[in-house]
Symmetry: C2
């Protein structure tokens, strides 16, 4: 005989989350029992259900939002001539943290991966075509990751857009700022040398 | 501008759990968005609220249970002459996993800690007195941890029970089974030598 059923059920639910094993799940449950009152337990539960109910994809760029249009697309001060393409909404929030980029985004929600059966129809590329042909876009910056799939996706997008009068660029790859050379991997070092700039 | 409000709220709720920092909380939230449907999200939320609503302390031993009386106290096959005293319900489940102990438990829900203002009134000792004077208990095994507070609590309980015809014992401390001596700390080694047995 193990834990009471209500505890066992919650342990199993917590174990669905990434990186949460049995011991961690038990720790969460006993924390809920010992340190949280009914009110704050209900707050966690409601935050979960509310988030899942309210969150959806921006009708324009496919970023995550609680509204119809995300905070970037609905901001009139953003530069509409530039669209930065990322794989996932999380990338948007990472770039927004730098507060440097003033253009718009386009979230693919994936990358092309023929091996996994992910073709152009499976990711959010068609709506990119509609955006660039309807609007006054002058530059597309592709920021998919530097994996094989990310590179394939970047090349595919470049090909799709090649007949339009639009600059298509790729974000720069190299040694991260502040990282000692000895900790950079070989591929990153090769890219850094390839992407060298005249001083 | 950061995450949509519904995401930010859930990130903050997850961050209340022990060992969960911002990055881990964000990982949980994006897992909920990308890998869980509304149904399974609701299951987590309901498991949380149900657990908090249903779980309570056994009227007899103070162990956690979904019912009035816990699975140990309600089992007629348990040996009523022995009561093992632990600090927390989690200790009960740990000992039950060994499947060796057949007696009853008594959960203190804490240890005496004068420095933190925790006296005998603050932990579940009075009900222990009621149990041992009303029933045919012949042995009390004290399994509080070997911290200063755990030892103080053990000595206090021994003193409280000294006029009753009851054997009061303490669980054995020593080197964990399977642990190489070099990894045992000094205190454990001292205890192990003190608790030596004739071969």
């Amino acid at each position: 005989m193990g834990f009471p059923k209500s505890i066992e059920t919650l342990v199993n639910e917590f174990m669905k989350y990434p990186g949460v094993g049995r011991k961690t799940a038990e720790r969460f449950v006993f924390y809920t029992i010992n340190k949280m009152d009914k009110e704050s337990t209900k707050n966690v539960a409601e935050a979960l259900v509310n988030m899942k109910d309210n969150i959806n994809h921006c009708k324009v760029c496919n970023n995550l939002t609680d509204d119809e249009i995300c905070f970037v697309c609905s901001d009139p001060k953003r530069d509409e001539s530039t669209i930065l393409i990322v794989e996932s909404p999380k990338d948007v929030f990472s770039i927004e943290e730098t507060a440097d980029y003033k253009g718009l985004y386009h979230v693919l929600n994936g990358v092309l991966s023929p091996a996994d059966g992910v073709g152009p129809e499976e990711i959010n590329i068609k709506s990119l075509w509609d955006r660039v042909t309807n609007k006054k876009v002058s530059e597309i910056i592709i920021a998919t990751s530097s994996t094989q799939e990310g590179e394939t996706t970047a090349l595919y997008i470049k090909r799709v857009l090649k007949d339009l009068d639009i600059t298509v660029s790729r974000i720069g790859y190299g040694v991260p700022v502040g990282l000692n050379l000895e900790y950079a991997d070989n591929l990153t070092l090769s890219k850094a040398i390839e992407n060298r700039k005249k001083l």
